[in-house]
């Protein structure tokens, strides 16, 4: 199981909440950061801070090099075929909005369809609703089964010659279902649709190979894979990115500017207007190195062990119902406790030092699908231990005693 050396890498985990040891079970919201990521950001500001792609001075060269190295590191880690396929953005939300506004909006029209699933995060729903409003296209939603897995038959039924774009979560944030994205993308391709995969919940937990999934776009969230907040990327097929017009204008995204005509810079710079989050990219690069060092295989195996143990501990508590029991699941357990509202559970667990997420998890339609307003959600990362799960179980018992 997780050795203490791993836990030691994460300074924020070593603290008390009141007089209780912190048990952090909210990694699906954001992961804690290893010391190497914190140091990389600090070092960058202490030594190399400068603007990129402009100055000829030493610091600017160093900053530019570090920023572009980060692009290569992410491309390597996630299987992009070249570094230029990686566009830095604020996070998965911005990545999806970029595709919506720069790819979909100019291309879609009335009669076209966008297909998503019932388990999507709001950030993979709302950008498409905006595009539909702007273009007259319509949004279709593939159903999920009672165990939280995608209903492939429903997905196939919804696909048609009118489907222009398909966007699906790689891993559901609310219940942890892992979708067979390779298969879904192949199905989408068969009707000629362009494909987007929301990988926000995947890249911190399992091996992702952009080229092998063979989607057109893949959205990445830096802060959910041990990186800083405010950095993420859109990975896109190079030819598609070339065909697209920019979505924001400003510095760095242009080659020449005159009042008569402006010439766009090349991919990826065309999509990175303004001074980017350089420190964030440097931190993300350190996060990629951290993941490489531990290895996705180890991370995934540990989290699967925690999932199995977590499910068994929660199932044994009377009145606890687990939502989302798909076979292929990430380290996320959503649950309800009979007689204890999730909001109360959140407060009582926090008092025991146990940090979980409660509410609708930015997935209101999914909650509605299960007839719920809210759930509790415990989500794991490689730094969690079985003791953390025991603490969760004990705290749930306390909540039940207190409120039932």
């Amino acid at each position: 199981m997780t050795d203490t050396a791993t836990v030691d890498n994460f300074p924020a985990l070593h603290q008390k909440i009141g007089d209780k040891k912190l048990v952090y079970l909210d990694s699906a919201a954001t992961t804690q950061k290893p010391q190497s990521v914190i140091d990389a950001v600090t070092n960058y500001y202490e030594l190399d801070n400068a603007n990129i792609h402009r100055g000829v001075h030493t610091l600017s060269q160093r900053a530019t090099k570090a920023y572009e190295q980060a692009r290569k590191d992410i491309a390597d880690l996630l299987g992009a075929s070249r570094a230029e396929e990686v566009i830095f953005v604020r996070g998965a939300t911005e990545a999806i909005n970029l595709v919506a506004q720069a790819w979909a909006r100019p291309r879609l029209c009335k009669g076209d369809e966008i297909l998503i699933t019932e388990m999507e995060h709001h950030s993979n729903i709302v950008p498409w609703q905006l595009v539909c409003e702007q273009t007259g296209a319509s949004l279709k939603v593939a159903k999920i089964k009672d165990d939280g897995s995608l209903d492939i038959d429903s997905f196939k039924e919804m696909l048609s010659q009118d489907t222009v774009l398909v966007s699906v979560a790689h891993v559901s944030n609310a219940i942890g279902t892992v979708n067979p994205v390779e298969e879904l993308c192949a199905l989408a391709k068969s009707v000629g649709a362009t494909t987007v995969v929301d990988g926000a919940q995947a890249t911190g937990h399992m091996h992702v190979d952009f080229s092998k999934i063979d989607c057109d776009f893949y959205a990445v969230s830096g802060h959910k894979m041990f990186g800083p907040t405010g950095i993420g990327c859109l990975i896109g097929k190079y030819t598609l990115l070339q065909e697209m017009e920019p979505w924001q204008g400003g510095g760095d995204m242009i080659l020449t500017v005159s009042f008569e005509e402006t010439v766009w810079n090349e991919v990826p710079f065309k999509f990175e207007a303004g001074t980017p989050n350089i420190a964030g990219a440097v931190g993300l690069s350190a996060a990629a190195q951290f993941i490489r060092k531990i290895g996705y295989k180890t991370i995934h195996a540990q989290e699967q062990e925690l999932l199995a143990y977590g499910r068994s501990v929660l199932e044994a508590i009377e009145g606890v119902t687990i939502i989302g029991t798909a076979k292929n699941n990430a380290g996320v357990i959503a649950f309800t406790i009979e007689g204890v509202h999730p909001h109360d559970a959140g407060t009582i667990l926090d008092h025991a030092g146990v940090a979980i997420r409660t509410g609708n998890h930015c997935a209101e339609p999914l909650m509605k699908r299960f007839g719920l307003h809210a759930t509790c959600r415990a989500s794991f990362s490689m730094y969690n231990t079985t003791q953390d799960i025991d603490a969760l179980g004990t705290a749930i018992q306390e909540a039940i005693t207190m409120l039932r």
Partner: protein, 146 residues
């Protein structure tokens, strides 16, 4: 743990588990829907007034222990109060939840929520029913804690 016990006093958990005023006032003179986007809770408050005096209040909907108990005790406290008195009482109650105000002037059934002060994230739960009824009395249908 002591803070937590003060949040979930027996009177609070008792009214959360067995609310006395759940349901609908029918016929009613005012109706309001309250929504707490943070937890997805929804509350419908129905009121019957006679001239300016509240004769009956009931609430319906799903909520956490704090919002349910608060709605239930609010309903008990407000019967017989004028609309003006209701508004003044809400101000006092809000002060109790957010400031170190003196609890002497607060009815005992509301003073049990003074523990909420230590849990700023839960103030919205304790005030949802109040926001809803004030909004209903003002002639608006919807209220949110945002």
């Amino acid at each position: 743990m002591s803070n937590l016990r003060e949040l979930y006093l027996e009177m609070v958990t008792d009214h959360a588990k067995n609310p006395r005023n759940r349901g609908k006032v029918d016929p009613c003179s005012h109706i309001g829907t309250g929504h707490n986007p943070l937890c997805g809770d929804k509350l419908v408050v129905t009121v019957l007034t006679n001239k300016d005096v509240i004769e009956d209040v009931k609430f319906d909907g799903e909520g956490c222990a704090i919002s349910t108990a608060s709605a239930d005790l609010m309903a008990e406290v407000l019967v017989g109060k004028t609309i003006k008195e209701t508004k003044i009482l809400f101000d006092t109650f809000h002060g109790l939840l957010t400031e170190d105000s003196n609890t002497d002037s607060v009815p005992r059934k509301l003073a049990v929520f003074s523990g909420v002060r230590e849990f700023p994230m839960r103030v919205k739960c304790a005030t949802l029913a109040w926001h809803t009824i004030i909004s209903a009395l003002d002639g608006n249908e919807g209220a949110t804690t945002e």
